[in-house]
Symmetry: C2
Subunit: 243 residues, 2 copies
Protein backbone atom coordinates (compact mmCIF):
# COMPACT_ATOMS: atom_id res chain seq x y z
CA UNK A 1 0.00 0.00 0.00
CA UNK A 2 1.33 3.35 -1.03
CA UNK A 3 0.42 6.45 0.90
CA UNK A 4 -1.87 9.03 -0.67
CA UNK A 5 -2.06 12.72 0.21
CA UNK A 6 -5.47 14.37 -0.01
CA UNK A 7 -6.40 18.01 0.37
CA UNK A 8 -10.04 18.25 1.40
CA UNK A 9 -12.02 21.47 1.28
CA UNK A 10 -14.62 21.18 4.04
CA UNK A 11 -16.55 24.22 2.81
CA UNK A 12 -17.12 27.63 4.34
CA UNK A 13 -18.58 26.76 7.75
CA UNK A 14 -21.91 24.94 7.54
CA UNK A 15 -20.91 21.25 7.91
CA UNK A 16 -23.56 20.29 5.33
CA UNK A 17 -21.64 22.25 2.69
CA UNK A 18 -18.85 19.67 2.42
CA UNK A 19 -19.03 17.64 -0.81
CA UNK A 20 -20.00 13.97 -0.89
CA UNK A 21 -16.45 13.26 -2.11
CA UNK A 22 -14.78 15.20 0.69
CA UNK A 23 -17.00 13.42 3.21
CA UNK A 24 -16.11 10.01 1.76
CA UNK A 25 -12.37 10.73 1.66
CA UNK A 26 -12.44 11.84 5.30
CA UNK A 27 -14.24 8.65 6.35
CA UNK A 28 -11.70 6.54 4.47
CA UNK A 29 -8.60 8.44 5.65
CA UNK A 30 -6.15 6.96 8.16
CA UNK A 31 -4.98 10.33 9.40
CA UNK A 32 -6.68 13.75 9.39
CA UNK A 33 -4.27 16.70 9.33
CA UNK A 34 -5.76 19.75 10.94
CA UNK A 35 -4.12 23.14 10.42
CA UNK A 36 -4.51 25.68 13.20
CA UNK A 37 -3.10 29.00 14.23
CA UNK A 38 -1.02 29.27 17.37
CA UNK A 39 -3.90 30.97 19.18
CA UNK A 40 -6.60 28.45 18.32
CA UNK A 41 -7.56 25.61 20.64
CA UNK A 42 -8.61 23.59 17.63
CA UNK A 43 -8.76 24.43 13.93
CA UNK A 44 -12.16 25.52 12.55
CA UNK A 45 -11.96 22.93 9.77
CA UNK A 46 -11.53 20.19 12.40
CA UNK A 47 -14.53 21.39 14.39
CA UNK A 48 -16.59 21.22 11.16
CA UNK A 49 -15.39 17.67 10.57
CA UNK A 50 -16.20 16.70 14.19
CA UNK A 51 -19.80 17.75 13.71
CA UNK A 52 -19.98 15.46 10.66
CA UNK A 53 -17.97 12.45 11.77
CA UNK A 54 -17.19 10.51 14.88
CA UNK A 55 -13.44 10.85 14.33
CA UNK A 56 -11.74 7.52 14.95
CA UNK A 57 -8.72 8.37 12.81
CA UNK A 58 -5.50 9.75 14.14
CA UNK A 59 -5.63 13.57 14.14
CA UNK A 60 -2.36 15.31 13.39
CA UNK A 61 -2.61 18.94 14.45
CA UNK A 62 -0.30 21.21 12.47
CA UNK A 63 0.41 24.67 13.75
CA UNK A 64 0.95 27.52 11.30
CA UNK A 65 1.46 30.91 12.90
CA UNK A 66 -0.49 33.90 11.55
CA UNK A 67 2.51 35.78 10.24
CA UNK A 68 3.88 37.16 6.98
CA UNK A 69 7.44 36.24 7.98
CA UNK A 70 8.35 33.85 5.15
CA UNK A 71 11.39 32.45 6.96
CA UNK A 72 9.35 31.54 10.03
CA UNK A 73 6.55 30.11 7.88
CA UNK A 74 8.99 27.95 5.89
CA UNK A 75 10.09 26.30 9.14
CA UNK A 76 6.50 25.41 10.02
CA UNK A 77 5.67 24.22 6.50
CA UNK A 78 8.80 22.06 6.45
CA UNK A 79 7.99 20.55 9.82
CA UNK A 80 4.44 19.74 8.69
CA UNK A 81 5.70 18.21 5.44
CA UNK A 82 8.21 15.99 7.33
CA UNK A 83 5.41 14.64 9.51
CA UNK A 84 3.10 14.05 6.53
CA UNK A 85 5.84 12.34 4.49
CA UNK A 86 6.60 10.02 7.36
CA UNK A 87 2.92 8.95 7.41
CA UNK A 88 2.85 8.55 3.62
CA UNK A 89 5.96 6.33 3.90
CA UNK A 90 3.96 4.07 6.22
CA UNK A 91 1.34 3.76 3.47
CA UNK A 92 -1.23 5.93 5.20
CA UNK A 93 -4.06 7.84 3.55
CA UNK A 94 -3.50 11.35 4.84
CA UNK A 95 -6.25 13.97 4.49
CA UNK A 96 -5.30 17.62 5.04
CA UNK A 97 -8.51 19.49 5.80
CA UNK A 98 -8.98 23.12 4.93
CA UNK A 99 -11.79 25.66 5.27
CA UNK A 100 -13.58 26.65 2.05
CA UNK A 101 -11.82 25.62 -1.14
CA UNK A 102 -8.24 24.27 -0.88
CA UNK A 103 -7.00 26.24 -3.93
CA UNK A 104 -8.02 29.64 -2.55
CA UNK A 105 -5.74 31.29 0.03
CA UNK A 106 -5.11 28.05 1.91
CA UNK A 107 -2.03 26.87 3.79
CA UNK A 108 -2.69 23.58 2.04
CA UNK A 109 -1.21 24.84 -1.24
CA UNK A 110 2.18 25.59 0.38
CA UNK A 111 2.26 22.14 1.95
CA UNK A 112 1.11 20.55 -1.31
CA UNK A 113 3.98 22.14 -3.25
CA UNK A 114 6.52 20.67 -0.86
CA UNK A 115 4.88 17.23 -0.86
CA UNK A 116 4.96 17.24 -4.67
CA UNK A 117 8.63 18.28 -4.65
CA UNK A 118 9.60 15.75 -2.01
CA UNK A 119 8.53 12.53 -3.57
CA UNK A 120 6.40 10.39 -5.71
CA UNK A 121 3.35 10.07 -3.53
CA UNK A 122 0.08 10.55 -5.33
CA UNK A 123 -1.84 13.67 -4.36
CA UNK A 124 -5.49 14.50 -4.84
CA UNK A 125 -7.18 17.80 -4.11
CA UNK A 126 -10.92 17.71 -3.39
CA UNK A 127 -12.40 21.14 -4.12
CA UNK A 128 -14.84 22.81 -1.78
CA UNK A 129 -17.42 25.57 -1.66
CA UNK A 130 -15.62 28.94 -1.52
CA UNK A 131 -16.61 31.36 1.25
CA UNK A 132 -17.69 34.04 -1.22
CA UNK A 133 -20.00 31.60 -3.04
CA UNK A 134 -21.60 30.70 0.31
CA UNK A 135 -22.04 34.37 1.26
CA UNK A 136 -23.66 35.24 -2.07
CA UNK A 137 -25.94 32.21 -1.70
CA UNK A 138 -26.90 33.22 1.85
CA UNK A 139 -27.82 36.68 0.54
CA UNK A 140 -29.60 35.17 -2.51
CA UNK A 141 -27.67 37.43 -4.88
CA UNK A 142 -25.58 36.67 -7.95
CA UNK A 143 -21.80 37.03 -7.68
CA UNK A 144 -21.53 37.62 -11.42
CA UNK A 145 -23.89 37.42 -14.38
CA UNK A 146 -23.59 37.40 -18.16
CA UNK A 147 -20.48 39.27 -19.29
CA UNK A 148 -19.64 40.69 -15.86
CA UNK A 149 -16.16 40.33 -14.39
CA UNK A 150 -15.44 39.30 -10.82
CA UNK A 151 -12.35 40.25 -8.83
CA UNK A 152 -11.26 38.47 -5.67
CA UNK A 153 -8.96 40.64 -3.54
CA UNK A 154 -7.43 39.39 -0.29
CA UNK A 155 -6.66 41.49 2.80
CA UNK A 156 -5.41 44.60 1.04
CA UNK A 157 -2.29 46.34 2.30
CA UNK A 158 -1.83 48.84 -0.51
CA UNK A 159 -5.25 50.38 -1.08
CA UNK A 160 -4.45 52.29 -4.29
CA UNK A 161 -4.94 49.35 -6.68
CA UNK A 162 -8.28 48.70 -4.99
CA UNK A 163 -9.78 51.90 -6.42
CA UNK A 164 -8.86 50.82 -9.92
CA UNK A 165 -10.34 47.38 -9.44
CA UNK A 166 -13.55 48.82 -7.98
CA UNK A 167 -13.86 51.11 -10.99
CA UNK A 168 -13.21 48.38 -13.56
CA UNK A 169 -14.93 45.31 -12.17
CA UNK A 170 -18.71 44.96 -11.92
CA UNK A 171 -18.26 42.67 -8.91
CA UNK A 172 -15.54 42.64 -6.27
CA UNK A 173 -15.02 40.34 -3.31
CA UNK A 174 -12.79 41.73 -0.57
CA UNK A 175 -11.52 38.83 1.52
CA UNK A 176 -10.27 38.86 5.13
CA UNK A 177 -11.45 42.42 5.52
CA UNK A 178 -11.12 42.69 9.30
CA UNK A 179 -7.76 44.46 9.57
CA UNK A 180 -8.42 47.36 7.23
CA UNK A 181 -12.21 47.59 7.35
CA UNK A 182 -12.47 51.34 8.10
CA UNK A 183 -10.06 52.30 5.29
CA UNK A 184 -11.87 50.08 2.79
CA UNK A 185 -15.32 51.43 3.75
CA UNK A 186 -13.96 54.96 3.30
CA UNK A 187 -12.94 54.14 -0.28
CA UNK A 188 -16.29 52.49 -0.97
CA UNK A 189 -18.08 55.59 0.36
CA UNK A 190 -15.94 57.87 -1.83
CA UNK A 191 -16.80 55.80 -4.89
CA UNK A 192 -20.51 55.77 -3.99
CA UNK A 193 -20.47 52.01 -3.54
CA UNK A 194 -21.11 51.74 0.18
CA UNK A 195 -24.78 50.88 -0.23
CA UNK A 196 -24.06 48.37 -2.97
CA UNK A 197 -22.04 46.15 -0.71
CA UNK A 198 -22.76 43.19 1.52
CA UNK A 199 -20.73 42.50 4.62
CA UNK A 200 -20.51 38.88 5.75
CA UNK A 201 -18.71 37.32 8.65
CA UNK A 202 -18.43 33.59 9.49
CA UNK A 203 -21.11 32.88 6.89
CA UNK A 204 -22.80 29.53 7.49
CA UNK A 205 -21.54 29.23 11.06
CA UNK A 206 -23.93 29.51 14.03
CA UNK A 207 -22.61 33.00 14.81
CA UNK A 208 -22.63 34.04 11.15
CA UNK A 209 -23.49 37.64 10.27
CA UNK A 210 -24.72 39.10 7.01
CA UNK A 211 -25.61 42.71 6.28
CA UNK A 212 -26.54 44.50 3.06
CA UNK A 213 -25.23 48.07 2.90
CA UNK A 214 -22.23 49.17 4.97
CA UNK A 215 -22.75 51.48 7.95
CA UNK A 216 -21.04 54.83 7.76
CA UNK A 217 -18.15 55.35 10.07
CA UNK A 218 -18.19 55.90 12.95
CA UNK A 219 -21.82 56.52 13.96
CA UNK A 220 -23.67 53.58 12.50
CA UNK A 221 -21.10 50.89 12.75
CA UNK A 222 -21.51 49.84 16.34
CA UNK A 223 -23.15 46.62 15.26
CA UNK A 224 -20.18 45.82 13.08
CA UNK A 225 -17.61 46.72 15.73
CA UNK A 226 -17.36 43.18 16.99
CA UNK A 227 -17.92 41.14 13.85
CA UNK A 228 -15.58 43.17 11.70
CA UNK A 229 -12.69 41.97 13.79
CA UNK A 230 -13.20 38.43 12.64
CA UNK A 231 -10.63 36.95 10.29
CA UNK A 232 -13.38 35.15 8.38
CA UNK A 233 -15.11 38.23 7.07
CA UNK A 234 -15.60 39.57 3.57
CA UNK A 235 -17.34 42.27 1.58
CA UNK A 236 -19.09 41.69 -1.74
CA UNK A 237 -19.37 44.88 -3.83
CA UNK A 238 -21.83 44.94 -6.72
CA UNK A 239 -21.57 47.92 -9.04
CA UNK A 240 -24.65 46.74 -10.90
CA UNK A 241 -26.65 47.91 -7.90
CA UNK A 242 -28.29 44.58 -7.30
CA UNK A 243 -28.01 44.43 -3.51
CA UNK B 1 -47.70 24.09 3.63
CA UNK B 2 -46.07 26.99 1.88
CA UNK B 3 -43.96 26.44 -1.20
CA UNK B 4 -40.20 26.96 -1.02
CA UNK B 5 -37.88 27.77 -3.90
CA UNK B 6 -34.36 26.33 -3.76
CA UNK B 7 -31.40 26.94 -6.03
CA UNK B 8 -29.07 23.99 -5.86
CA UNK B 9 -25.54 24.05 -7.22
CA UNK B 10 -24.77 20.48 -8.25
CA UNK B 11 -21.06 21.18 -8.70
CA UNK B 12 -18.87 21.25 -11.78
CA UNK B 13 -19.44 17.80 -13.26
CA UNK B 14 -18.28 14.98 -10.97
CA UNK B 15 -21.53 13.92 -9.22
CA UNK B 16 -19.58 13.38 -5.97
CA UNK B 17 -18.84 17.10 -5.88
CA UNK B 18 -22.37 18.08 -4.89
CA UNK B 19 -22.66 19.15 -1.23
CA UNK B 20 -24.39 17.06 1.42
CA UNK B 21 -26.94 19.89 1.68
CA UNK B 22 -27.61 20.02 -2.04
CA UNK B 23 -28.03 16.25 -2.08
CA UNK B 24 -30.48 16.37 0.86
CA UNK B 25 -32.52 19.23 -0.64
CA UNK B 26 -32.83 17.34 -3.94
CA UNK B 27 -34.01 14.18 -2.17
CA UNK B 28 -36.62 16.19 -0.22
CA UNK B 29 -37.82 18.28 -3.17
CA UNK B 30 -41.23 17.74 -4.79
CA UNK B 31 -40.17 19.11 -8.15
CA UNK B 32 -36.74 19.37 -9.78
CA UNK B 33 -36.42 22.21 -12.31
CA UNK B 34 -33.83 21.45 -14.94
CA UNK B 35 -32.58 24.25 -17.18
CA UNK B 36 -31.45 23.28 -20.66
CA UNK B 37 -30.53 24.92 -23.91
CA UNK B 38 -32.71 24.45 -26.96
CA UNK B 39 -30.13 22.08 -28.45
CA UNK B 40 -29.69 19.81 -25.45
CA UNK B 41 -31.60 16.56 -25.08
CA UNK B 42 -31.32 16.93 -21.33
CA UNK B 43 -29.56 19.49 -19.15
CA UNK B 44 -26.09 18.55 -17.83
CA UNK B 45 -27.12 19.37 -14.26
CA UNK B 46 -30.01 16.90 -14.56
CA UNK B 47 -27.74 14.14 -15.85
CA UNK B 48 -25.49 14.72 -12.82
CA UNK B 49 -28.50 14.46 -10.51
CA UNK B 50 -29.65 11.27 -12.29
CA UNK B 51 -26.35 9.59 -11.53
CA UNK B 52 -26.84 10.44 -7.83
CA UNK B 53 -30.55 9.85 -7.36
CA UNK B 54 -33.30 7.64 -8.61
CA UNK B 55 -35.47 10.61 -9.52
CA UNK B 56 -39.03 10.00 -8.39
CA UNK B 57 -39.91 13.67 -8.26
CA UNK B 58 -41.60 15.55 -11.05
CA UNK B 59 -38.99 17.00 -13.40
CA UNK B 60 -39.85 20.36 -14.92
CA UNK B 61 -37.58 21.01 -17.89
CA UNK B 62 -37.08 24.70 -18.56
CA UNK B 63 -35.65 25.78 -21.87
CA UNK B 64 -33.41 28.83 -22.06
CA UNK B 65 -31.99 29.54 -25.51
CA UNK B 66 -28.27 30.32 -25.84
CA UNK B 67 -28.69 33.89 -26.96
CA UNK B 68 -27.74 37.40 -25.87
CA UNK B 69 -31.09 38.77 -27.06
CA UNK B 70 -32.48 40.18 -23.81
CA UNK B 71 -36.02 40.50 -25.15
CA UNK B 72 -36.11 36.85 -26.18
CA UNK B 73 -34.52 35.77 -22.88
CA UNK B 74 -37.04 37.76 -20.83
CA UNK B 75 -39.84 35.77 -22.46
CA UNK B 76 -38.23 32.48 -21.47
CA UNK B 77 -37.42 33.65 -17.93
CA UNK B 78 -40.99 34.89 -17.46
CA UNK B 79 -42.43 31.61 -18.72
CA UNK B 80 -40.19 29.64 -16.34
CA UNK B 81 -41.11 31.89 -13.41
CA UNK B 82 -44.84 31.47 -14.13
CA UNK B 83 -44.47 27.68 -14.04
CA UNK B 84 -42.41 27.79 -10.83
CA UNK B 85 -44.82 30.19 -9.09
CA UNK B 86 -47.73 27.95 -9.94
CA UNK B 87 -45.91 25.03 -8.21
CA UNK B 88 -45.04 27.20 -5.20
CA UNK B 89 -48.71 28.19 -4.93
CA UNK B 90 -49.54 24.49 -4.60
CA UNK B 91 -47.12 24.36 -1.62
CA UNK B 92 -44.43 22.44 -3.48
CA UNK B 93 -40.73 22.38 -2.65
CA UNK B 94 -39.16 23.36 -5.94
CA UNK B 95 -35.43 22.82 -6.52
CA UNK B 96 -33.84 24.59 -9.48
CA UNK B 97 -30.60 22.75 -10.27
CA UNK B 98 -27.61 24.45 -11.78
CA UNK B 99 -24.10 23.40 -12.79
CA UNK B 100 -21.26 24.61 -10.55
CA UNK B 101 -22.20 27.39 -8.14
CA UNK B 102 -25.64 29.06 -8.53
CA UNK B 103 -24.29 32.59 -7.95
CA UNK B 104 -21.74 32.44 -10.77
CA UNK B 105 -22.97 32.99 -14.32
CA UNK B 106 -26.10 30.92 -13.85
CA UNK B 107 -29.56 31.29 -15.38
CA UNK B 108 -30.75 30.62 -11.84
CA UNK B 109 -29.98 34.19 -10.72
CA UNK B 110 -32.29 35.72 -13.35
CA UNK B 111 -35.11 33.38 -12.35
CA UNK B 112 -34.39 34.01 -8.65
CA UNK B 113 -34.73 37.79 -9.10
CA UNK B 114 -38.16 37.39 -10.66
CA UNK B 115 -39.33 34.90 -8.03
CA UNK B 116 -38.25 37.34 -5.31
CA UNK B 117 -40.09 40.18 -7.06
CA UNK B 118 -43.23 38.14 -7.67
CA UNK B 119 -44.16 37.10 -4.21
CA UNK B 120 -43.50 36.19 -0.67
CA UNK B 121 -42.24 32.65 -1.15
CA UNK B 122 -39.12 31.80 0.82
CA UNK B 123 -36.04 31.18 -1.29
CA UNK B 124 -32.84 29.39 -0.37
CA UNK B 125 -29.70 29.16 -2.47
CA UNK B 126 -27.40 26.18 -1.82
CA UNK B 127 -23.91 27.06 -3.01
CA UNK B 128 -21.82 24.63 -5.04
CA UNK B 129 -18.24 23.99 -6.09
CA UNK B 130 -17.28 26.45 -8.83
CA UNK B 131 -15.82 25.05 -12.04
CA UNK B 132 -12.56 26.98 -11.63
CA UNK B 133 -12.06 25.59 -8.12
CA UNK B 134 -12.54 22.07 -9.49
CA UNK B 135 -10.08 22.68 -12.34
CA UNK B 136 -7.40 24.04 -10.01
CA UNK B 137 -7.95 21.07 -7.71
CA UNK B 138 -7.67 18.61 -10.60
CA UNK B 139 -4.36 20.23 -11.55
CA UNK B 140 -3.25 20.36 -7.90
CA UNK B 141 -2.38 24.04 -8.18
CA UNK B 142 -3.41 27.05 -6.10
CA UNK B 143 -5.85 29.52 -7.65
CA UNK B 144 -4.52 32.29 -5.39
CA UNK B 145 -2.15 32.51 -2.43
CA UNK B 146 -1.28 35.08 0.22
CA UNK B 147 -1.82 38.61 -1.08
CA UNK B 148 -2.47 37.58 -4.69
CA UNK B 149 -5.54 38.82 -6.55
CA UNK B 150 -7.78 36.63 -8.69
CA UNK B 151 -9.85 37.82 -11.64
CA UNK B 152 -12.72 35.84 -13.11
CA UNK B 153 -13.49 36.90 -16.69
CA UNK B 154 -16.33 35.38 -18.70
CA UNK B 155 -16.38 34.80 -22.45
CA UNK B 156 -14.62 37.97 -23.55
CA UNK B 157 -16.01 39.97 -26.44
CA UNK B 158 -13.84 43.05 -26.13
CA UNK B 159 -10.29 41.79 -25.70
CA UNK B 160 -8.62 45.10 -24.81
CA UNK B 161 -9.52 45.10 -21.10
CA UNK B 162 -8.17 41.55 -20.91
CA UNK B 163 -4.58 42.75 -21.43
CA UNK B 164 -4.89 45.14 -18.51
CA UNK B 165 -6.31 42.44 -16.26
CA UNK B 166 -3.57 39.98 -17.27
CA UNK B 167 -0.95 42.61 -16.44
CA UNK B 168 -2.45 43.53 -13.07
CA UNK B 169 -3.73 40.27 -11.63
CA UNK B 170 -1.46 37.46 -10.49
CA UNK B 171 -4.18 34.94 -11.34
CA UNK B 172 -6.84 35.08 -14.03
CA UNK B 173 -9.60 32.62 -14.87
CA UNK B 174 -11.01 32.95 -18.38
CA UNK B 175 -14.42 31.29 -18.43
CA UNK B 176 -16.31 29.86 -21.43
CA UNK B 177 -13.27 30.29 -23.59
CA UNK B 178 -14.42 28.24 -26.56
CA UNK B 179 -15.63 31.02 -28.86
CA UNK B 180 -12.57 33.22 -28.81
CA UNK B 181 -9.85 30.74 -27.92
CA UNK B 182 -7.41 31.62 -30.75
CA UNK B 183 -7.59 35.37 -30.05
CA UNK B 184 -7.07 34.84 -26.32
CA UNK B 185 -4.11 32.51 -26.83
CA UNK B 186 -2.55 35.13 -29.13
CA UNK B 187 -2.75 37.72 -26.34
CA UNK B 188 -1.33 35.27 -23.81
CA UNK B 189 1.56 34.51 -26.18
CA UNK B 190 2.26 38.23 -26.66
CA UNK B 191 2.38 38.73 -22.91
CA UNK B 192 4.62 35.70 -22.43
CA UNK B 193 1.98 33.91 -20.41
CA UNK B 194 1.16 31.04 -22.73
CA UNK B 195 3.21 28.50 -20.81
CA UNK B 196 1.85 29.67 -17.48
CA UNK B 197 -1.69 28.71 -18.32
CA UNK B 198 -3.82 25.63 -17.85
CA UNK B 199 -6.58 24.73 -20.25
CA UNK B 200 -9.46 22.71 -18.85
CA UNK B 201 -12.58 21.44 -20.49
CA UNK B 202 -15.50 19.59 -18.85
CA UNK B 203 -13.38 19.17 -15.73
CA UNK B 204 -14.60 16.29 -13.57
CA UNK B 205 -16.73 14.76 -16.32
CA UNK B 206 -15.79 11.43 -17.93
CA UNK B 207 -14.59 13.23 -21.07
CA UNK B 208 -12.80 15.94 -19.08
CA UNK B 209 -9.57 17.39 -20.45
CA UNK B 210 -6.79 19.22 -18.63
CA UNK B 211 -3.57 20.53 -20.13
CA UNK B 212 -0.79 22.68 -18.65
CA UNK B 213 0.72 25.11 -21.15
CA UNK B 214 -1.20 26.21 -24.22
CA UNK B 215 -0.18 24.95 -27.63
CA UNK B 216 0.96 27.55 -30.12
CA UNK B 217 -1.36 28.23 -32.98
CA UNK B 218 -1.81 26.60 -35.39
CA UNK B 219 0.81 23.82 -35.41
CA UNK B 220 0.51 22.29 -31.97
CA UNK B 221 -3.12 22.77 -31.25
CA UNK B 222 -4.60 19.83 -33.06
CA UNK B 223 -5.27 18.12 -29.78
CA UNK B 224 -7.23 21.13 -28.59
CA UNK B 225 -9.19 21.53 -31.82
CA UNK B 226 -12.07 19.46 -30.56
CA UNK B 227 -12.11 20.26 -26.86
CA UNK B 228 -11.77 24.00 -27.30
CA UNK B 229 -15.16 24.08 -28.92
CA UNK B 230 -16.83 23.05 -25.71
CA UNK B 231 -18.89 25.62 -23.84
CA UNK B 232 -17.62 24.27 -20.51
CA UNK B 233 -13.99 25.20 -21.00
CA UNK B 234 -11.74 27.61 -19.16
CA UNK B 235 -8.16 28.79 -18.92
CA UNK B 236 -6.36 29.49 -15.64
CA UNK B 237 -3.44 31.91 -16.07
CA UNK B 238 -0.85 32.11 -13.29
CA UNK B 239 1.64 34.95 -13.57
CA UNK B 240 3.53 33.58 -10.58
CA UNK B 241 4.79 30.84 -12.89
CA UNK B 242 3.52 28.03 -10.74
CA UNK B 243 2.11 25.76 -13.45
Amino acid sequence: MKGVFYGVGVGPGDPELITLKGYRVLREADVICSPKSRAEKEGIALSIVRSLLDIKQKVLELTFPMTNDKVELELYWDKAVRQILSLLKEGKKVAFITLGDPSLYSTYTYVLKKIKQAGSYPVETIPGVASFCACAAAANIPLAEGDEKLAIIPAVKDLDPLRLVLQNFENVVLMKIARNYPAVVKILAELGLKDQAIYASRCGMPDGFLKAGLPTLPEEMEELEEVQKDYLSLIIVKRSNYV
